[in-house]
């Protein structure tokens, strides 16, 4: 058994195990933690495919930044809050199921067709360029800053829109309910008031 098969095996078990555990975890922080483990496992999967830069991004951005954001959200909302049964967004569950089915169908289709679909598609030349360079940081940069320049710049606009939107919302939030804008002592305060 060569070493990459062994690594793949371990990665497979860890990613799948933590994903399933995530679904059944009751505590929001535990869910976030299992998601972190999944992200790190996926980084290993990228390493196996020789995408070292993507693996680093996976850890820095997903495991390091976005999951911290998740944890902050959980702590912002208060972790021991029971799951709300009345949903503010109507029909989001059926919609989620539908979209998930669509995604699963897509994944199955790609798996059925094999990697030919990706390598012979429109991005084949770019993909070959990427794989020609070990570690592919330089090749990736050349592709991003020439061929995929527009998506790259649009990404920044997307990020800015997200930030501005959240700032507007957060300001409204602290204006409406002062409790959520306060920290730490809020629970004790509430109990004292009661």
């Amino acid at each position: 058994m060569s070493i990459d098969v062994a690594v793949f095996g371990v990665m497979f078990v860890v990613v799948l195990g933590s994903s399933i555990a995530m679904l059944f975890a009751r505590n929001a922080v535990h869910v976030a933690l299992f998601l972190v483990v999944t992200q790190i496992g996926l980084a290993v999967a990228f390493l196996l495919e020789g995408a070292y830069f993507i693996a680093a991004i996976q850890i820095i951005v997903y495991a390091g930044a976005i999951m911290v954001l998740f944890l902050f959200v959980i702590m912002l909302l208060g972790v021991d809050r029971r799951e709300a049964l009345n949903e503010p967004l109507r029909g989001q569950r059926p919609l989620a199921v539908g979209l998930a089915a669509l995604l699963a169908a897509e994944v199955l289709y790609v798996a059925y067709k094999g990697s030919d679909l990706i390598t012979t598609g429109g991005g084949s030349q770019a993909l070959q360029d990427l794989n020609a360079d070990p570690g592919n940081v330089k090749a990736l940069a050349r592709v991003v800053f020439s061929r995929y320049l527009l998506p790259f710049e649009v990404t920044s606009i997307l990020l800015v829109v997200a930030v501005v939107g959240v700032m507007v919302l957060a300001r409204q939030m602290s204006a409406i309910s002062p409790v959520s804008a306060r920290s730490g002592s809020s629970v004790a305060d509430k109990e004292e008031a009661a």
């Binding site: 922080v29 830069f53 390091g64 902050f72 702590m75 940081v137 306060r182 004790a188």
Partner: protein, 412 residues
């Protein structure tokens, strides 16, 4: 068994040996650093410091470790069991993993195999270092949350906000290095700093300066000369990342008891403690690697492999001393000033410096122009600092704000 060794080849054996040697070394250094800090601080405060165990109290850290080992360990009733147990591990592991990309000696050949004194030379070394830094947040945030107690939670949330703020500055301060080195591999970066600054033709033709410029032949070609603003940002952000004074808000004992680790005791507390010092060693080693030429230094014929190791550890020790010195000197920052420094000073400064470095390093700009720009900038800042311009103080101090009537909003 021998069949297995044949199958996996000598590479894995070398890797194993490297890993074990690095671990022993890292733990040994960390124990020494803990002792050294106590001794140095004691000296700065006119005390004696540890002097009971071993010569000069050298074994004090070990004695403390053994003591903590035999201490009862109890988890608060309100704590979240598994998260509480994972947090110390989550603190330790990223801290020492970051050391894997630090080269601490020149290449040597043992039994026909060229061996580098580095656990592994990753082609994305700098990014790996940053990745481990970003995972370091979890140890603190989990410890604080899992304790189910108020002080740790406040300490943790405060600390993680501090860590993520300074992580950006840390990452951005390394971009100029990647720009001038054309590589993210730490081995390449050390290699690019080898030798001395030669061929300074800037002063050619000017009688006296031409002679003076000869000293450049003895000045090592380190990145610190041209990249000192990046280094300044790296150092400040690095100290903030280690949670050391003056950025030790996570465990500000006057406000938060012991911060995120309040509810931890015994060997688990020792893990947090050890993790912090490993982090100090790693940041020092990284500063040496990226800005001070790593292991490069004058070598001699006597034991040629030893000198790079000596220079690396010597430079790292100087940085550790700086860490301790800062702790003995500077008071803790207030939280709003900490955030102010990170977001409104360090990040814009880092972005600006990346742009300056990029412009100066554009193809076609001659080496003399580059040297001129960096030298002029250095002299300008030196002049401003020496003159003691009041605007300088304004630039590094947040403006006073009226806080009346706003205090009730509550600062966390």
């Amino acid at each position: 068994m021998s069949g297995l060794i044949d199958a996996i080849g000598p590479a894995v054996i070398i890797a194993l040996v490297k890993v074990l040697v690095t671990f022993v070394m890292l733990l040994g250094i960390t124990l020494l650093v803990v002792w050294a800090e106590r001794k140095i601080i004691a000296d700065m405060q006119s005390r004696v410091g540890p002097n009971r165990w071993g010569p000069f109290g050298l074994l004090q850290t070990l004695a403390d470790g053994i003591k903590l080992f035999f201490k009862e360990d109890f988890r608060p009733r309100t704590a979240d069991r598994w998260t509480y147990a994972i947090a110390p591990i989550a603190t330790m592991v990223p801290a020492f993993l970051a050391f894997a990309v630090v080269p601490f000696g020149n290449e040597v050949t043992i039994a026909g195999h060229p061996i580098n004194f580095i656990v592994s030379d990753l082609n994305i070394g700098i990014l790996y270092f940053l990745a481990m830094g970003s995972l370091g947040v979890y140890g603190i945030v989990l410890a604080g949350w899992a304790s189910g107690s108020k002080y740790p939670l406040l300490g943790a949330i405060r600390s993680s906000a501090q860590l993520i703020s300074y992580e950006i500055a840390l990452g951005l301060s390394l971009v100029p290095i990647a720009l001038v080195a054309h590589s993210l591999s730490t081995l390449d970066i050390v290699g690019a700093q080898a030798g001395t600054i030669r061929n300074v033709t800037f002063f050619d033709g000017i009688p006296v300066l031409e002679q003076v410029a000869n000293i450049f032949r003895y000045v090592p070609n380190w990145y610190i000369w041209s990249q000192w603003p990046a280094f300044a940002i790296f150092l400040v952000a690095g100290i903030a990342e280690t949670n050391r004074p003056p950025f030790d808000l996570p465990e500000a004992e006057t406000e938060l008891v012991q911060g995120f680790s309040t509810e931890y005791g015994g060997i688990r507390f020792a893990m947090f403690y050890l993790g912090e010092y490993i982090h100090v060693v790693v940041i020092s080693a990284m500063a040496v690697t990226l800005f001070f030429g790593g292991w490069s230094g004058p070598g001699f014929d006597f034991l040629p492999w030893l000198w790079p190791l000596f220079w690396f550890f010597f430079k790292t020790a100087l940085f550790v001393y700086l860490f301790v010195w800062l702790r003995a000197t500077l008071p803790r920052l207030r939280y709003d000033r900490l955030m102010w420094l990170g977001w409104k000073r360090l990040i814009p400064a880092a972005l600006l410096w990346i742009m300056v470095t990029a412009v100066v390093n554009t193809e076609g700009v001659s080496r003399n122009v580059r040297l001129g720009v960096f030298a002029a900038l250095f002299l300008l800042v030196l002049a401003v600092v020496l003159r003691g311009d009041p605007r300088l103080k304004e630039a590094v101090t947040p403006q006073r704000r009226r806080t009346q009537g706003r205090l009730s909003r509550g600062a966390a």
